[in-house]
């Protein structure tokens, strides 16, 4: 049942979840199936659970001057969200006019969405598993933090996450990659296949694949292959008949509220920020299925403002602000009571809430990370058949692991299907320059527009960023916006380890463009907010939208905020889930890993509720 801004203080739930994004919805669905009474408190709106209301977001996208990740998902003063367009400068103060107060020295360039469904509304849908070495970077490379769990422990949950999200991919391509990355562990089970066949590779994927066949690059005397690998992705394709989940074949899940739509990707190319037919997964699908258990209640327009703890480390309730209009005074304060509380509101919101509620742990808010993203671009000698299909369907993944990680960040390379869209605003930037600078018109203009756009190659380098305590989220009780919301304060810097990775990325880009016979056109200007100079070379990084850290997991209260089940150390019934728990970023887009962790937590939470039933005889 979905309700807006109602009072639930009279009811008692088994589990109260703060935040209706992917982590919260996966946990709600599992617990709902197990028969537990679950409440989700969502700060944002829920109207897009209705198909036609979801479709209305499209109009915002079409008419937005800048089609940024949040362009279809409007800002809400009661539940403000950061916007990547807030970052306009290298000066921290200039970047602090939105929701975040940016202290720098480098800008944090990512954003998220505070609507039901969360950031999966506007994500690309890339679903790579982390590699086993990502779980032990401290031990293996002397960098960052180790996880309190191994890849092997998480692997069954990766499989479950791939079912819940609905992944299209070719497992043999991943196995081949596993060999290139020198993975000794069983990365994918012997009999395992993905629920759906891989999304077909794009023209540019095939072109690069052929041109780079047998090619390699050398770092510190070691040779690394430059192989192109298809990307497993959260996008509906053709079900793999060999796939079984608990004995059942896979059925693609269509759009919420219109099951006739979205059962297969048809190439709208607007995955970021919005898939018109929901062929790309969003948490709305999991929420829809969670509601079917009859055990899950969603209350939207309910911003949780405080966690109330008794004197014995037990959370009693959370306080939420239920608002009815876009007026700062138009709200009521209610409480929600449950046995277990799960914070699933994004790393920044989780940290903010714990800091405000004086949850005891010095590490809350620390180790904020992202995947700094270095865009590069070039012009191919031939036409490429681009500007179609999902944003990316393949990557060069073979540089995600190696001995070089002792000295610098690893990276993956995302091959873009949409030309220089992200790096330069193509195809518009091209025609703008042809008309205004080159005075082109008529047939010549049309021909040049075609030629200049259809030869564009964009390679995006997604860099690992190790956890550092000085990169952090804090609050200051005096720093509130006009609606009384505390503004997150962000301290952020890229370490030399990551910048060295950027240097290697740029060298790799030049090598790749030369193998492709392409003219490298990358240039970074110092008016770019992400501009960096290192060893006399220039770089400019963007954000990947991958908020990580803030409540990292570890082996004790001395090195972490949560344990491996994402239970907050020192509190009996409080969990903080999501990307905030990741101690390392690795080079995999993090959503799949957060989903696997959430599913592991759901099982643990259910087991502990069952144990409680046996010991104190509740619900008999």
């Amino acid at each position: 049942m979905i309700n807006e801004c109602i009072d639930v203080s009279e009811k008692e739930f088994d589990v109260v979840i703060v935040g209706g994004g992917i982590a919260g919805s996966l946990i709600a669905k599992q617990l709902g199936i197990y028969g537990k009474k679950v409440l989700i408190l969502e700060a944002g709106e829920s109207k897009h659970m209705k198909y036609l209301d979801y479709q209305r977001n499209l109009d915002l996208y079409y008419s937005a001057s800048v089609k940024s990740p949040n362009s279809p998902f409007s800002s809400n003063s009661h539940a403000p969200q950061p916007d990547e367009l807030d970052v306009i400068s290298k000066i921290p103060y200039m970047n602090s006019k939105g929701y975040f107060i940016q202290m720098g020295p480098t800008p944090y360039r990512s954003d998220y969405t505070r609507h039901l469904g969360g950031a999966t509304l506007h994500w690309l849908g890339t679903c790579l598993r982390m590699i086993p070495d990502d779980f032990k970077t401290k031990t293996k490379f002397g960098v960052g933090l180790d996880w309190p769990l191994t890849y092997e422990e998480l692997r069954p949950y990766y499989e479950q996450a791939e079912y819940e999200i609905g992944i299209s991919g070719e497992v043999n391509d991943q196995r081949e990659l596993g060999q290139l990355l020198n993975i000794k562990e069983e990365w994918f089970g012997k009999e395992y296949v993905f629920p759906m066949h891989k999304i077909p590779e794009s023209n540019i994927d095939k072109y690069l694949s052929k041109q780079l066949e047998g090619k390699s690059i050398t770092f510190q005397g070691h040779q690394y292959s430059l192989k192109v690998t298809s990307t497993p992705q959260a996008r509906n394709g053709i079900p793999n008949m060999k796939y079984r989940y608990r004995g059942e074949p896979y059925k693609p899940v269509g759009a919420v509220g219109n099951d006739f739509q979205g059962k297969r990707c048809v190439g709208y190319s607007s995955c970021v920020p919005i898939c018109p037919i929901q062929a790309k997964y969003s948490a709305l699908k999991t929420l829809d299925s969670a509601l079917k258990s009859g055990n899950v209640t969603i209350v939207s327009k309910a911003v949780v403002t405080e966690i109330k703890v008794d004197g014995f480390g037990k959370v009693e309730k959370v306080v939420y602000k239920a608002y009815t209009s876009n007026n700062p005074n138009d709200f009521s304060l209610y409480t929600a009571v449950g046995k277990i509380f799960v914070l699933a509101a994004n790393p920044v919101e989780n940290s903010k809430l714990m800091l405000k509620s004086l949850i005891k742990n010095d590490l809350i808010g620390k180790y904020l990370m992202d995947h700094p993203f270095l865009l590069t671009w070039g012009l191919s000698p031939q036409l490429l058949g681009i500007f179609k299909g999902p944003g990316s369907t393949s990557g060069i993944e073979s540089l995600r692991n190696g001995k070089f990680r002792e000295h610098r960040s690893a990276f993956r390379i995302e091959i873009g299907n949409l030309g220089w869209l992200w790096s330069n605003g193509a195809p518009y930037s091209i025609i703008n320059s042809l008309v205004f600078e080159k005075n082109n018109s008529g047939k010549k203009l049309r021909e040049s527009t075609y030629d200049m756009n259809q030869r564009q190659i964009q390679l995006g380098f997604m860099l690992e960023q190790p956890a550092e305590a000085t990169n952090r989220i804090t609050i200051d009780r005096r720093e509130k916006d006009s609606f009384g919301n505390l503004r997150p304060i962000i301290n952020y810097k890229l370490s030399e380890y990551t910048i060295k990775g950027m240097e290697a990325a740029k060298q790799t880009a030049s090598t790749l463009y030369s193998y492709l016979g392409a003219k490298e056109c990358t240039s970074y200007t110092d008016d770019d907010p992400g501009f960096i100079q290192y060893n006399n070379n220039s770089y400019a990084f963007s954000g990947a939208g991958h908020f990580m850290g803030g409540h990292v997991m570890g082996t004790s209260i001395h090195n972490s905020v949560v344990d491996k089940y994402q239970k907050v150390w020192g509190y009996k019934n409080l969990f903080a889930v999501g990307c905030g728990s990741l101690p390392t970023t690795g080079t995999a887009n993090p959503t799949l890993t957060l989903a696997a962790l959430a599913l592991m937590s759901a099982k643990w939470i259910n087991n502990s509720l069952e144990k409680e039933k046996i010991t104190i005889g509740v619900d008999k």
Binding site: Y62, K206, V266, G267, Y268, S269, N439
Partner: protein
Amino acid sequence: MSRVNTYDLFLKLSETITGFTRVDLLSTGLDVHYYEFINAKEPKTLKELLKKYYFVPCSDFSLDKSYFSEELNFLIKQIILLWYTGRWYINSVNYYYLSSESYKQGLIWKAINAHPFGANPTGYGSWGKSIYLEDINDK
């Protein structure tokens, strides 16, 4: 000039400056809307432009020529970009979309053999079926 249908002249001018055919322009469904919009926005300059165009006998239209004043030259650029992008450029940097429909009907998508992102999808796998790369076989 009074007996000339200025809307018709606007379309002819648009054909010349965009490199698209009349059918392409009409297929946007926005031809009248665009004409009325510009006519309301820049009535004098448009009239002057159309008058001048009426007496230009060439079909190969180049903006390099000093035939047009700076003001007319800028209006021509605005009209080209309106057809191509659905945006009205206030100057070479700032612009806005006339409507969500004008975004979708931008002729740039046709010019680059693509489709407006978020509309007119090309079909499952169409992104891997090239008209250019015949030598690369599907795996």
